[in-house]
Amino acid sequence: MDAIILQILNGLDKGSAYALIALGLTLIFGTLGVVNFAHGALFMVGAFVAVTVQKLFSLSYIEIDETRTDFLGNPLKVEMPYIDHWFGSATGAWMQDWSVPLSILVVVPFMFLVGFVLERGLIKHFYKRPHADQILVTFGLAIVIGEIIKALYGANPIQTPPPSAFLGTVDVGVMLGFEPNAIAYPTWRMVYFAFSAVIIACVFAFLQFTTFGMVVRAGMADRETVGMLGIDIDKRFTFMFGLAAAVAGMAGVMYAPILSPHYNIGMDFLVLSFVVVVVGGMGSLPGAVLAGFMLGILQSFASMNEVKALIPGIDQIIIYLVAIIILLTRPRGLMGRKGVMEE
C-alpha cells in the first residue's frame, strides 16, 4: 500500500510538468489552430531562466576585507555578490537561496514577451498553412532554440538547487498513519505539484470566469463565428500564445531543481507532452491535464521493480504503449472532439 502511494506521489511531479506543457500546447492548438513543436523549447527556456537568475544573483566582485587576513598576512580578498552589496548580506543571501522561486517574477513577463514575438513574428504567418508546415517550422524553431541554449550554456546539465528550506524530504507516510520513513517524498517535488495545481486552476478559472476567457473558449469552439461578431479575436489569441508560453516557462523554472536543465530537455519533454496531448484528445484542456497526470503516474508505476520484473523494459515504453492503445481504441483520445486534426 505504502509503495503504491509512493509511486502515485512520484508520478505527480512528472505528471504536473506534462500537464502544464500539454495545457499550453492545447491552448495554442485550440485557439490558434497551430501545432507547436517548439513548446518543449519554451519549457526549457523557462528552466534556463532559473539557471540565469541563479547565476546573476551570485555574480560577485572582489572586495578586500581589511578586517581579516589570509595565511600570508595580506588583507583577505573575498568575493562579494552584488546583491549582497546592494541589499545587505541578509537579504542577498536570502535572494540567492530563493533564486528559483524568484525567477517566476522574471519568467512571466519574459515568456509573455517571447510568446508575443514568436506569435507576431512567425506563427501568425502559418495560420493558413497546412498542419505539416506548422509542425515543420516549429520543429526547426525548437532545434534553433536548443542550439542557442547549447551555445550559451554548454551541453552539460546545470545543477539548480531549490531554496534550502525545501531541500529535505517530507515523511508523507507518517501523516497517513504508516511507519516513519515508509513514504519519504522530496519536499520540492511536493511544492512543484502544489504550484502546478495552482497554475492549472488559475488557467481554468481565467477561461471560465472572465469575459476574455469566454471569448477565447468561444473562439476555440468556432473561430469564424466569433470573428464575425466583430470581436478582434486575433489580439486575444496573441495574448493566449503569450499565456501558454508563460505557463510553459513557469513549469520550466520550477522544474529546474528536479531535473538539472540541459539543452535537450525541451525535445525530451516535447515528445512526451505531444503524446500526452494526443492521448488527452487534441483540443481538450481537461483531457490534457488528465492525461498528463495519468501518464506521469503510470510511468512511475512502471518503474517499480516488481513491475519491471514482470514485464522487462516496460518503464521505458509505457507512455508510448498507452498512447498506441488509447489511439486505437479511442480514436480521438480520452476527451477529444470529432474531426480535429484528421485531414
Binding site: G140, E147, I148, A151, A323, L327, L328, E342
Partner: protein, 396 residues
C-alpha cells in the same frame, strides 16, 4: 526509354551520370589547396552518406510526398535494417548480399506491422503513432533487446562469432563475393587526386535502382492513387477504391527503402547502434525531404545530399579557417566577422541546420526544386507557361 517518358529519362540519366562521376565532380579544387580541404566532398565516407541518405529520402518521399502522411518515426526502419545486416555478418559471413537482402526484408516486416496499426489513424495522430513506435524501438534496443542489439555498446562483429559461411582467405571486412567494400583505386592527376571506392559504387548502384523504381512508382497507377489519397479520401472510397492497402503498400515500400539504407550503412561500416533509431534521426529524414522538395522526384536526393554536405563542411570549419579566408580584410573586421559566424560553424552546425530548415519552410515551402523552378521562371517570359506546367505535374 526504359519505360520512362523523355523528361523522366533525362532526369534519370542525369542522376546516373552524377552518381557515377561523383568522385570527380565533387572534387573541384586541388586536394591540398585551402578550398579543397574545406569544400571538396569527393571522398568515399562522405559520398557514401550522400547516396545512402538519398535512398532513405527517396523512400520517405514515396510515403510523405505522395500520400501526405508525415511519418515521424522513419529512422526506426533504418536502425532495424542496420541491425539485421550486422547480424548477417555475425552469423553467415562478411558478404553484403545476404545482409542487404535481410535488412530490406526485416524492415519490410516491421513496416507491415507498424503501418497496419498506425494507418488506422490519419493526420497528426498518424505522426504521433509512428513516433511512438520508433521511440519504443529505440528504448527497447537499449533495454530488453540488449541481447540482440548489444545495448549501448552497439552491435558489431567479434572474432568469436560463428560466421558459418566464412571460408579461410575470405576478406575480414564487408565484401561482395570477394570485392571488399573499402577497397579503392586512387587516381592522381596534377594537384587532384580522385578516389574510386567499391563500397561507394555499390551504394550508388542501389541509389540508381531506387531512383528508377521511384520514378516508375510515381508515374504508375498506384502513384496516382496515392496522390489521390492525399487529395480526397472520401472520393477515393466512393469511387470504389480501398485506400488502406494502397497506404499500407506505400508505407511498406517506404520502410523497405529505409531498411535498404540501413543495410548499406552497415555494409560500409559493420557496426550499428540504437541512436540510428532516435527520433532526431527521423526528424532529419523529414528535413531532407522538405529541404529538397516534397513530392518531387529529385528533391529528396538533393535535400539529403545538401544536408550531409553542409553537415560535413560546416562542422569542419573552425575559427582558424575563417581567419584565413578573411585575412585580406582589416583586422577588426576580420575579428568581427569571425565572432559573428562562430556560433554557426563547427559544433554549431545544428543551429545552421535549424535556421536553414526554418527558412525553407517559411520562404520556400516547395523546397529547392521549387526554388529552382522560380529562378528558371525569372528567365524569359516565354518559358513561363512551361514552368507552370512543371509545377502541376509532380515532375522533376
Amino acid at each position: 526509354m526504359l519505360g520512362l517518358n523523355s523528361r523522366d529519362f533525362k532526369l534519370f540519366a542525369i542522376v546516373c551520370i552524377m552518381a557515377l562521376v561523383a568522385p570527380i565532380l565533387l572534387n573541384p579544387f586541388p586536394t591540398d589547396s585551402a578550398l579543397g580541404q574545406s569544400f571538396n566532398a569527393g571522398y568515399p565516407a562522405l559520398m557514401q552518406r550522400f547516396v545512402i541518405f538519398g535512398i532513405l529520402a527517396i523512400g520517405f518521399n514515396i510515403l510523405f510526398g505522395l500520400t501526405g502522411y508525415l511519418s515521424f518515426g522513419h529512422a526506426a526502419f533504418l536502425g532495424m535494417g542496420s541491425y539485421a545486416a550486422v547480424w548477417m555478418f555475425k552469423l553467415l559471413s562478411y558478404n553484403v548480399l545476404p545482409a542487404i537482402v535481410l535488412s530490406v526484408i526485416v524492415a519490410g516486416i516491421f513496416a507491415v506491422v507498424i503501418g497496419y496499426v498506425s494507418l488506422r489513424r490519419s493526420g497528426i495522430y498518424f505522426s504521433i503513432l509512428t513516433l511512438a513506435f520508433a521511440q519504443m524501438s529505440y528504448q527497447l534496443a537499449y533495454s530488453v533487446f540488449t541481447p540482440i542489439t548489444n545495448g549501448e555498446t552497439g552491435l558489431q562483429v567479434y572474432n568469436a562469432d560463428p560466421q558459418i559461411l566464412m571460408s579461410p582467405g575470405d576478406p575480414t571486412s564487408p565484401h561482395l563475393f570477394g570485392i571488399t567494400m573499402n577497397g579503392q583505386t586512387q587516381v592522381d592527376m596534377g594537384g587532384w587526386s580522385f578516389v574510386f571506392q567499391n563500397g561507394y559504387y555499390l551504394a550508388a548502384l542501389f541509389l540508381i535502382a531506387s531512383f528508377y523504381l521511384s520514378i516508375r512508382i510515381f508515374r504508375s497507377p498506384m502513384g496516382l492513387m496515392l496522390r489521390a489519397i492525399k487529395s480526397n479520401q472520401t472520393r477515393m472510397s466512393y469511387v470504389g477504391l480501398n485506400t488502406k492497402p494502397y497506404m499500407l503498400a506505400a508505407f511498406v515500400i517506404s520502410g523497405m527503402y529505409a531498411g535498404l539504407a540501413g543495410g548499406l550503412l552497415a555494409a560500409m561500416d559493420p557496426l550499428t547502434g540504437a541512436e540510428r533509431m532516435f527520433w532526431t534521426a527521423s526528424g532529419e529524414i523529414v528535413v531532407m525531404a522538405i529541404l529538397g522538395g516534397v513530392g518531387t522526384l529529385i528533391g529528396p536526393v538533393l535535400g539529403a545530399g545538401l544536408i550531409k554536405y553542409l553537415e560535413n563542411i560546416v562542422s569542419k570549419i573552425n575559427d582558424g579557417i575563417l581567419h584565413s579566408w578573411f585575412s585580406f580584410l582589416p583586422d577588426w573586421l576580420d575579428n568581427l566577422l569571425v565572432t559573428v559566424i562562430h556560433p554557426f560553424i563547427g559544433k554549431g552546425w545544428h543551429l545552421t541546420l535549424g535556421l536553414l530548415f526554418m527558412a525553407v519552410v517559411i520562404f520556400l515551402p516547395g523546397g529547392l526544386v521549387q526554388g529552382g523552378q522560380k529562378i528558371m521562371g525569372l528567365f524569359g517570359r516565354n518559358k513561363k507557361s512551361d514552368a507552370k506546367d512543371g509545377a502541376k505535374t509532380p515532375a522533376e
